[in-house]
């Protein structure tokens, strides 16, 4: 089939609409943010239109470097945990009957209807000393007395993995469902164990999907600001939490914008680097 070149306006329409949406809801707001990041902060007030670098200068310090480093580490951990859990799960899911698959997918989709606030408060109750799961362990005789499992890094990680897992599975599912079953059958006839088949056939065949999913979850987790606040200590606050503080509580829009621009640039750079490394491997392979 040959694709006809677009001639009339109606041919262009399907492209124009998303392009317009992207312009109105992404390009314009992002440009405004970049502009604001160069404005002059007025202490005890708001800001005045200007072109200064002081907002970026304030950000370039060991303190904010540390917070940025932690945010990246947290997002990377969430991405790694999610893919490590979701990939085998989704693989086994695709081996089930269609009915079972649909039931699981509907269940996962319904988890997406929970807001971040509900997820945060639910986990903070589950991890609490007074009403949490440690009481269950005490009843089962596994623990002596109930303890609080939050605030801490583990609690933040659990909450964020819980939130991102359904997305991860839904992104991996189409690729795994389309995986050629004959590849695995061939490996079985050649004497490979199912485990070996999984690691030597399934994972390499879907390497690009896995990398793309990692990047998606990483970017998704980088923007999280509520769960680190509810489930973590101040040292577990991400850069997004500090951006919120500046924008909402200190009314320091220029500094908040500068931090946000920096965060976007860093994540774009990391995504670019990952793709670059992935691309090289493709050439050598």
């Amino acid at each position: 089939m040959r694709r006809e070149p677009a001639r009339s306006l109606s041919d262009h329409l399907p492209v124009i609409f998303p392009a317009l949406m992207l312009l109105v809801f992404f390009v314009i707001p992002f440009s405004i943010m970049i502009a604001v990041s160069f404005f002059q902060r007025e202490q005890g007030g708001f800001y005045t239109t200007d072109f200064v670098f002081s907002n970026y200068e304030r950000f370039l310090s060991a303190f904010f470097g540390g917070v940025l480093g932690f945010s990246l580490l947290l997002a990377a951990s969430v991405a790694a945990c999610c893919v490590a859990l979701a990939f085998p799960f989704t693989y086994f899911l695709t081996c089930r009957t269609r009915r079972v698959q649909i039931a699981w997918l509907v269940g996962l989709l319904s988890v997406l209807s929970l807001s971040e606030v509900i997820i945060g408060f639910a986990w903070s109750t589950l991890f609490s000393r007074t009403a949490g799961i440690s009481n269950l362990f005490v009843a089962l005789g596994l623990m002596d007395q109930p303890t609080a499992l939050l605030p801490g890094f583990g609690a933040v990680l659990t909450g964020m993995v819980y939130q991102a897992l359904p997305y991860t599975i839904l992104v991996l599912y189409p690729a795994l469902v389309r995986l050629e079953p004959t590849l695995l059958e061939a490996s079985r006839t050649l004497g490979a164990s199912p485990l070996r088949g999984f690691f030597n056939i399934v994972i390499p065949a879907l390497r690009n999907t896995i990398v793309a999913t990692l990047i998606m979850v990483f970017v998704f987790a980088l923007g999280s600001y509520l769960l680190p606040q509810i489930l973590g200590r101040p040292q577990h606050w991400t850069l997004s939490v500090l951006i919120t503080d500046q924008a909402i509580y200190q009314s320091n829009m220029p500094f908040a914008a500068a931090m946000a621009v920096f965060l976007v640039l860093i994540s774009l750079a990391l995504v670019g680097l990952t793709l670059l490394v992935g691309g090289r491997k493709d050439l050598t392979a």
Binding site: G44, F46, F63, S128, Q235, A247, I248, Y249, S251, M253
Partner: protein, 363 residues
């Protein structure tokens, strides 16, 4: 008379025309709306707004004929930012809002608050002078709505004895047991530190004094389980005993205790933190008349008394004008000399303080 009317003769056509005109009036909502006066009022969400909706606003509507639509506003300066952004676009998400002192000062810097005319608010004369918020040039930016205390709160199941001093926050026995406000500009913990250990808030006049207070405050960190921005987060944990001690609002804690929760609010011997909220009118609002009527109504001693009894706030009206019994007054206020926040610092040194504070608690 009847005869005369019959003589002039209202023709059937006139009646039909009048009827049509009447129907036309009914069908024209704009004409009706002129009589249907309303006002959007922002108050802090939660217990606070519920109490206002239940005990204060319906009476006001009954007396004035102005319907009140209450808007739940978030604490701190989040609402200020929203009001400012909206005013730039010529919109007012609320006509009148209850604003804290720090937010009032910040709003002044951009002329966010429409100047109020005291001549149209005769009851403003009842207020303690300090509760009339003015621009540097003397224009009135806001009128004191309510005052409130931030006190030392504890769970009665976990602490049988009420604590006596803010110094318990530093007690190593309270490791990992405290909930404190997360921001320098709403926790006022520097003032608490200065009053408790440095002889008064005047110690914060110099940068050296501020650094000393920050250093002392750093010793509290191991005791803090939660630095909260969102009140609901701490309130729930305090009630359940998950986080059994901390700083919180005296009024809300009183309401929770009245509901049967095992919590108490104590005025420490160094005093509670006295903060207050002003009624302020957004410059983007077109409801100037209604706003003045509303503020005048709220400044009456009788209404201030009702708010103290029902909402638990401290009055902004002079004590001798109020009909509160000394017992009722003691319930919402205290004879102990309060800690007055150093609002000037959050104006002149806000970024420096914020940076030091964030490094203190995050680092």
């Amino acid at each position: 008379m009847t005869k005369d009317i019959r003589k002039t003769g209202v023709s059937r056509r006139t009646i039909v025309a009048a009827g049509l005109a009447g129907a036309g009036v009914l069908a024209m909502p704009t004409v009706l709306r002129a009589q249907d006066r309303s006002l959007k009022v922002g108050v802090y969400g939660g217990y606070f707004k519920d109490s206002f909706d239940k005990h204060i606003f319906p009476e006001f509507t009954k007396v004035s004929g102005i319907a009140v639509e209450s808007i739940a506003e978030p604490t701190g300066e989040a609402w200020l930012v929203q009001l400012e952004q909206a005013a730039k676009a010529g919109r007012a998400p609320a006509d009148i809002s209850m604003m804290s002192q720090v937010a009032m000062l910040k709003g002044q810097s951009t002329n966010l608050w429409a100047p109020l005319d005291l001549a149209r608010i005769p009851n403003a004369g009842n207020l303690v002078d300090a509760f009339i918020n003015k621009y540097p040039d003397g224009r009135v930016a806001g009128i004191g709505a309510v005052a409130w205390y931030i006190t030392l709160v504890s769970n009665t199941d976990s602490f049988a004895e009420a604590p006596e001093s803010w110094a318990v926050l530093w007690d190593p026995a309270n490791k990992d047991k405290l909930g404190l406000l997360a921001l320098v500009s709403n926790s006022f913990l520097l003032e608490v530190t200065a009053k408790t250990f440095m002889g008064g808030t005047a110690a914060l006049d110099t940068e050296e004094g501020l650094l000393k207070a920050l250093e002392k405050l750093a010793e509290v960190k191991p005791n803090v389980r939660l630095w909260y921005r969102d009140e609901a987060q701490f309130e729930q944990a305090l009630k359940s005993g998950e986080i059994p001690m901390g700083q919180y609002y005296h009024d809300v804690t009183g309401l929770a205790a009245a509901d049967g929760h095992p919590v108490r609010s104590t005025f420490p011997k160094e005093g509670g933190i006295l903060d207050s909220g002003c009624w302020a009118l957004s410059r983007a609002s077109a409801k100037t008349d209604e706003a003045h009527i509303f503020i005048d109504y709220m400044s009456q001693p009788a209404i201030q008394g009702t708010m103290s009894r029902k909402v638990g706030t401290a009055p902004t009206v002079k004590r001798d004008l109020l009909d509160l019994t000394s017992e009722e007054f003691a319930g919402v206020s205290s004879e102990i000399d309060p800690i007055i926040p150093r609002y000037d610092l959050y104006q002149t040194k806000s970024d420096w303080l914020n940076q030091k504070w964030t490094e203190l608690i995050v680092g």
